[in-house]
């Protein structure tokens, strides 16, 4: 999935995560993570974000993640929502996300 514009999803409320995705000028994922549980879960958060981007077929993007202690399922949901908002896809294929 191609990132064409800025896509934002999520909030800065407790148990949530805000994900901002922008187009990138090179074929790579640039990932920035800020989390109040960085020490314990930083690597796990990065893996969840990268796995979700891979599942969505995103190969190039700048991804800014502000985590407020979100569960993995919330992180996946916010990344997916931000990706779809940043792309030109109008229809979500939930079958592909299963």
């Amino acid at each position: 999935m191609k990132i064409n514009k800025r896509g934002i999803a999520g909030t800065l409320e407790s148990s949530d995560v805000m994900v901002v995705i922008n187009p990138h000028d090179s074929q790579e994922i640039k990932l920035i993570v800020q989390s109040k549980v960085e020490k314990q879960f930083g690597s796990s958060i990065r893996k969840t974000v990268k796995d979700t981007l891979t599942k969505c077929g995103v190969l190039s993007a700048v991804v800014d993640v502000r985590d407020q202690g979100a569960l993995d399922c919330v992180i996946r949901a916010r990344v997916e929502a931000a990706v779809y908002r940043a792309s030109d896809e109008k229809t979500v294929k939930f079958g592909d996300l299963s």
């Binding site: 999803a9 999520g10 909030t11 409320e13 407790s14 148990s15 949530d16 995560v17 979100a70 569960l71 993995d72 399922c73 919330v74 996946r76 949901a77 916010r78 997916e80 929502a81 779809y84 908002r85 229809t91 979500v92 939930f94 079958g95 996300l97 299963s98």
Partner: protein
Amino acid sequence: MRLRRSMMFIPGANAGMLSNSYIYKPDSVMFDLEDSVSLTEKDSARFLVFNTLKENLYGDIETVVRINGVETPFWEDDLDMAVRAGVQIVRLPKTETVEEVKELEQRIAKIEKDCGRTIGDTKIMAAIESACGVVNSVAIAKSTPRMVAIALAGFDYLVDMQTSRSSGSEPELFYARAAVLHAARAAKIDAFDVAYGNVNDEEGFLREVEIAKNLGYNGKSLIHPRQIELLHKAYAPAQKDVDHARKVVAAAEDAEKKGLGVISLDGKMIDPPVVHEAQRVLLLAEHS
């Protein structure tokens, strides 16, 4: 047999509530994509509910998704997400006709086939929120084997009836409560009473629970976790009823072991519905 005393609403766009609400142990949880989700967050709410369901955070708690109404541009995407995520029940808001249920049923079957779920696995709950819905409630309740419950929704219904909530015996809801419950019982399905909006009014809530319970409702739609324990306590059977139910069930099991067609207790014959009610009382006692 499944208890459906408490069905707690959770806004589908609220990550915190979706992440934590299982700790309150309602019998059913209803992830809402309709009224509690703003138009600009319909898409993100679908992703949140989808991933929450896939994560199986709620374990044995029955999962329900309230989709947007069939008159909106959202309901088909809501349904596609919910069925593919494996939700147990789809709640259709503002149900007024059998045709709406049939359209929903056909669409569910198509998605089930496409994603490999057993056809018929996804159940339906119709929310009755208008005079038209109340009048058609028997046909709606009997419209499909997928229908497992109907729920009366008070706010929209009272607006449609050009009245508002009173306190006390609530005469404005009397006919709808009785009609929807009769429809459910005629169709052999469960019935949920209206939600009580004032979460700080414990006395008013319990008064309304008593009305619903005495009428025969299985439970209520709830909008706040603190209402769950109050409701479960109110539905707990008295000890003398539990003791009697134990005797009835024991007598039924004894008769079955001995291959007897007739069940008797203390010299009196017991009919199968009495055994069924005794089993329900024991289930309520176990979960109170």
